[in-house]
Structure formats: structure tokens, C-alpha cells
Symmetry: C2
Subunit: 221 residues, 2 copies
């Protein structure tokens, strides 16, 4: 070990979170993220990722959850550490930011939005139309999106954006919104049905056309 105890006091430790959810827009379901307006310097008035200082008595994951709750008043359905950004020049005072990314189930976000007391200075933006952000937050948001897109291809991460039960078409639309490209419905069905992660239920979603079977992911892993 090197350095002195005195050195440690000069470094601020913050936790920020890139939160993704699906929200309906003119062109169907879009992947969006919430931003907050900064209420103090530096970058007062700029949009920024939700975040706050790490409490010395708080685990990192807990700090990310708290941050997220303060922004959206919701529990994340998925939460994972992304990266720690700590260049000397990224902020006027030396600050390292431990960044998490989170998914919110679309049904719960809509419930939250209709409540009173939703934070005034929070606004959702399409991931393809993020405004200029404070600090290096644009870079952070882009990296988080890249990680999400990579992960959706080989894991069941997409379920974090949906209720417990969903149709295969709904799940496919999540993949399409995240990846930004169309997928073949029949091949998508075969792929996921054969994955043994997904189990059919006896329920059906009725709509304008032929009812679609509901599925759920198996518990645990």
C-alpha cells in the first residue's frame, strides 16, 4: 500500500444509475431513460443521470437502489454495476462515480407516473434522443446502452422490462426495442421456447386477434 490517510479525504465517492424502461411513444414501445435537472453547481440546470453521494454506512448496491428510489419511487427489477468512472478531469472536485444500470418493469413505471407526487424535475428521454448531459454522463449513458444490448442477446435480461407473465410477442418486442432491429417471430419463438428458461402457463392474453399464450421465466438463476 502507498499514500497516506490524508490523501483519502480529498476524493468524493458518488453513485449514479442509468435506468432503462419501455414506454409507449408514437412509433410503438421505445426504450427510454429518466434524467434529472441539476439543482446546484457545477452544471446547474443541465440534465444528468440520477445519483448521489455514497453514504459511508451503505453498501454500493444499496446506494444505487436508494438513488433509483429517490428518482422514480420504484424498486428496480434488475440492477447491476456497470463501471467506475474516475478521471481526474471529469469533475472540478475529484469525484469517482460508481455507475449502475437498472431495468424497470414497464407496468410499474406507468403506475408510478399516474400517481401524484412524482418528482417534478425528472423527465424520460428516448435512448436515441438523449440531450447533452452534465459531466461525462453522455459517455456513461452510451456505454450502459451498449452493455444492455450486448447482454440481451445471451441472457434473460429482457424479462426485467416486463411483468411476470407475458406473451412471446411482447417479449420479442422488448428485444426489438432494445436492439433496434426486427426479429423473425417464428424463429424467436422456437429459440426461446427451446431455452428451458421459459415455461408456458395455462393463461392466454386476449386481444384483437387470436389469444396468445402467456409465459414466465423459471425462478432462480
Amino acid at each position: 500500500m502507498s499514500g497516506t490517510t490524508g490523501d483519502r479525504d480529498a476524493i468524493g465517492v458518488a453513485v449514479s444509475t442509468v435506468i432503462f424502461s419501455l414506454r409507449s411513444a408514437d412509433e410503438g414501445e421505445r426504450l427510454m431513460l429518466p434524467l434529472v435537472r441539476r439543482t446546484r453547481e457545477p452544471h446547474l440546470g443541465s440534465w444528468a443521470l440520477p445519483g448521489g453521494w455514497l453514504d459511508p454506512a451503505e453498501d454500493l448496491d444499496a446506494a444505487a437502489s436508494r438513488t433509483l428510489a429517490e428518482t422514480t419511487a420504484l424498486q428496480p427489477s434488475y440492477l447491476e454495476q456497470l463501471y467506475t468512472f474516475g478521471d481526474v478531469a471529469r469533475s472540478p472536485s475529484r469525484t469517482i462515480s460508481i455507475v449502475y444500470w437498472a431495468l424497470l418493469r414497464s407496468d410499474l413505471v406507468d403506475a408510478q407516473r399516474s400517481r401524484a407526487g412524482a418528482p417534478e424535475n425528472v423527465e424520460w428521454f428516448d435512448v436515441d434522443a438523449v440531450p447533452p448531459l452534465a459531466f461525462d454522463h453522455n459517455r456513461i449513458a452510451e456505454y450502459a446502452l451498449w452493455r444492455l444490448r450486448n447482454k440481451v442477446a445471451y441472457s434473460r435480461i429482457a424479462a426485467g422490462l416486463l411483468p411476470d407473465e407475458f406473451t412471446l410477442t411482447e417479449l420479442r418486442e422488448v428485444y426489438e426495442a432494445v436492439l433496434g432491429q426486427r426479429l423473425d417471430p417464428s424463429n424467436f419463438r422456437r429459440l426461446l421456447e427451446g431455452s428451458d428458461e421459459l415455461v408456458p402457463t395455462e393463461s392466454f392474453r386476449t386481444g384483437k386477434h387470436r389469444p396468445a399464450r402467456l409465459y414466465r421465466y423459471v425462478a432462480h438463476s
Copy 2:
């Protein structure tokens, strides 16, 4: 943002690095990592990952490089941030550790070893025989190995363990040491020759048998 400026002063920020290199052992080339004996409390005398406090005027990557140099007196051929560990309970005093993992070219490590002045309290261990470590460092080392094994399959990361020029057999042996399993020489050749990341040179490595062509990775990405 929440919390006060006073809160920030109580959190220590450390940087540690999991360093991998290939070293010859009785059973051929083995993947190994260096550990250091702690010279102070807590965990005095235990083996631990190389690391130190983050200097307030130092970028994170630079801190990892410095740490690595203090341990091995060498530049890493590859360096990437792994994860930030920050549970309240992981250390008696609240400390978050930003952990990097690094690769060292085997030829340079051997050069270093033969020099005088090599650190006394550093020892290399086979990744399959890591002793009990201080703090949560066993968990960290295992996670780093998992990440390395994942990454070797879909990137040119293995080159970080070799000199600039190498035969396909040498490269295959790196993959085998990292993954811990045998690979078919002919299929390995076809796979990598067709990857357009690898270019043949006009040089050959002469040895006991038919000379083998040397390859190098293309520059840049």
C-alpha cells in the same frame, strides 16, 4: 444529490490489480498470478492482491499501472477495469476497491525475474492453487479469472500474454492454458487465420521440427 460533504471524508478509495501471466511449470505453461505479503494490519502477513490507495491527482488507470509497476516493475500489455467492490463489511475501515485486471507478456516477465531488485515479498501462484487471501480477495481473483476466460473466447486478448510475433501453436497453447482445455490444432488454425485480425509474417520459428510461420495481430482495434 444527497449526503453532506463531511460524509465523503470517511471513505477510503483503493485500487487493486489481478495480474495474469504465463509461466512455465512442470506440466507446461501455466496461467499464474502474483500475490504480495501484507506488511501491515489488517491481515498482516496474509497474501493479497497488489494494490494501493488512489492518489487524488491520479486517474484510475494510472493508479492501476503504478500499482502493477510497484509489484512487478513492468508495463502491462493489457489493462482493464474489472469491478468495484465496496461492501461495508469487506474491511474494518470503510474502503472501496476499484479492481483492474492485467496481462503481462510472458517474455518480459521472465526478463524481469532474472534481474536483481525483484521485490522480495512477491510470489507467483498457479490460478488453480491460490492460497487464502486477505479481505475478499479470493472472490475478486476468481471473478477476474472468470472474466478472462470469457473474454479469450471472443477477442484477441490472448495476444497480451505473448510477444508481438508468435506461432499459431503458441497462441493455441495460451488459449489452452487460459481455458484449461485442449483445442483441435487444425480447427484452431482455420478459425484464427480466417479472423482477419491475424496476419502472417515472412518469418518462421525454427525448432526441433518443421519451422512454423510467425503471425502478429493487426494494429489498432
